[in-house]
């Protein structure tokens, strides 16, 4: 019997309005506006250090914006977190698994602490998801015994088991070989297609964005000026976006040459 009801809840929309975030003098997000449609995969791209992970933290409710609002189905994020009206799952870049407990206990923690199911049901659900992610042999291993790709899949399993309304990913394919990265991309695409949960991915990976992204935004100067589709992003007119997607490799860069002189 499947553990996920494909039509359990209607997908939710996310609206981000004029969000600002600064750390001291450094402005990271500056009047950022964005709308994520129900059930779509939105991929946020941009070079390192432009505030992608900060954006994701704000969206997950782990930090608060200095100004602006984030709403999920017109309910403010603060209220969502307080009332648990919508569930948000975040798959961290390095997995963020609890190292002192086994994979099984990592996955069971959410159910046990919220007293959602009995132990038999928890076990059934966990093994079904582990099987789907081809991780059934890792259930009783400690997270330190897993490879990077396995950790990411276990983190994805933890996110999925929460049956979230919004699933957030922080660099899901970073530090993975192309084959493992492809399998993670397939999984995210499969989950979104079949369970319909609204998904936001922060990534550098254009292969991921082109293959599963419904919409793609590139963050520049703390805001997203334009939203593209997989087709339109490759012919973007914006110089910054073009340079980000097709960086030029210059082996004769003046900075390098100055080292030799």
């Amino acid at each position: 019997m499947p553990i996920f009801d494909q039509h359990r809840k209607a997908p939710v929309s996310i609206k981000i309005n004029g969000v600002c975030k600064a750390f001291g003098e450094r402005i990271v997000l500056n009047q950022l506006n964005l709308e994520v449609n129900p059930g779509e995969i939105f991929v946020l791209m941009g070079p390192s250090g432009v505030g992608k992970s900060v954006f994701l933290k704000l969206l997950a409710g782990l930090d608060r914006p200095d100004a602006g609002h984030i709403t999920i189905n017109r309910t403010s994020l603060d209220r969502v977190k307080k009332t648990n009206k919508y569930v948000l799952g975040l798959v961290f870049q390095a997995g963020a698994l609890f190292n002192s407990i086994s994979v099984f206990d990592n996955l069971a923690l959410y159910f046990r602490e919220h007293a959602l199911y009995d132990e038999a049901e928890i076990e059934k659900r966990i093994f079904q998801v582990l099987h789907m992610l081809n991780l059934q042999n890792t259930a009783f291993l400690m997270p330190s015994n897993l490879s990077g790709g396995m950790k990411k899949r276990v983190a994805l399993a933890r996110g999925l088991l929460m049956e979230p309304d919004v699933l957030l990913f922080d660099e899901p394919t970073s530090e993975l070989d192309p084959m493992t990265a492809a399998s993670i991309i397939e999984l995210i695409g499969f989950v979104n297609k079949n369970l319909g949960m609204t998904t936001v991915i922060v990534s550098h990976d254009i292969i991921l964005a082109k293959n599963i992204g419904t919409h793609i935004g590139v963050i520049q100067n703390g805001k997203i000026d334009e939203v593209y589709t997989a087709q339109t992003i490759m012919c973007a007119k914006n110089e910054y976006v073009k340079n980000f997607l097709n960086p030029t490799i210059n082996l004769e860069h003046p900075n390098f040459l100055s080292l030799l002189s």
């Binding site: 782990l62 977190k81 698994l97 609890f98 959410y110 602490e113 007293a115």
Partner: protein, 247 residues
Amino acid sequence: MKVLKDWQYAFVLLWQTFKELRYLPRQWQRCIEHSCNMGYKTFPIVGILSLFMGGILALQTGYSLSNLPGAQTFLGSIVGLSMCRELGPLMTAFLLTGRVGSAITAELASMSAYQEIDALKTMNLSPTRLLVMPRVLGGLLMMPLLTMFSNVLGWIGGWFVVKTVDVISIDGGTYWRSLQQFVDLDSLNDGLVKAEIFALTIILMSCSIGLRTFGGPREIGASVTSTLVQTMIAILTLDYFVTKLLL
């Protein structure tokens, strides 16, 4: 400034722990685990140090009193009261800070640095409920037991010195009679009150500093040092004021 923030957050944690007590039935297993970790592994070192502390106290005092005829008959009361009112709770608190407080800070700081605390928050699970409350209760449960153990071992250390060192002219019976005469229930209670206050300070400060650590291995190391220094200063400061209140 940072020290003030650590203290401020320690008080916030105390209040949050109090509020989270309603979830205790689901956390009792974690409380027992932490109690065992804190107590079981700390007992041997507390025992060894207390034995020697009592012995040293008896030796120093006995030697100093050897010129005053009859004064050595009070040796039992001096060792007994010093151990249960002051040295027992204080030494156990210092040991708990070094052995348990530093470990708590290191563990929570690593969890914070590797985003495990954020992962808990995204699951709508309170870090105070899962990480702080069981440790606070474990500390409050084990500290009086460790302190009593320290007192008894200190007394035994003193008795052993009385029995074996020639310069001390009283016998074991006189030592124990003097100890029984002066060490009453109030003295023991005062020591245990101090022990509980110290336990609360150690666990809350360790958790406060650990949970507010950001960065990598360097910051984790700095947090552990900060816990040791701040907690030891706090224990001695509190000791003075609590002693003044209890006298």
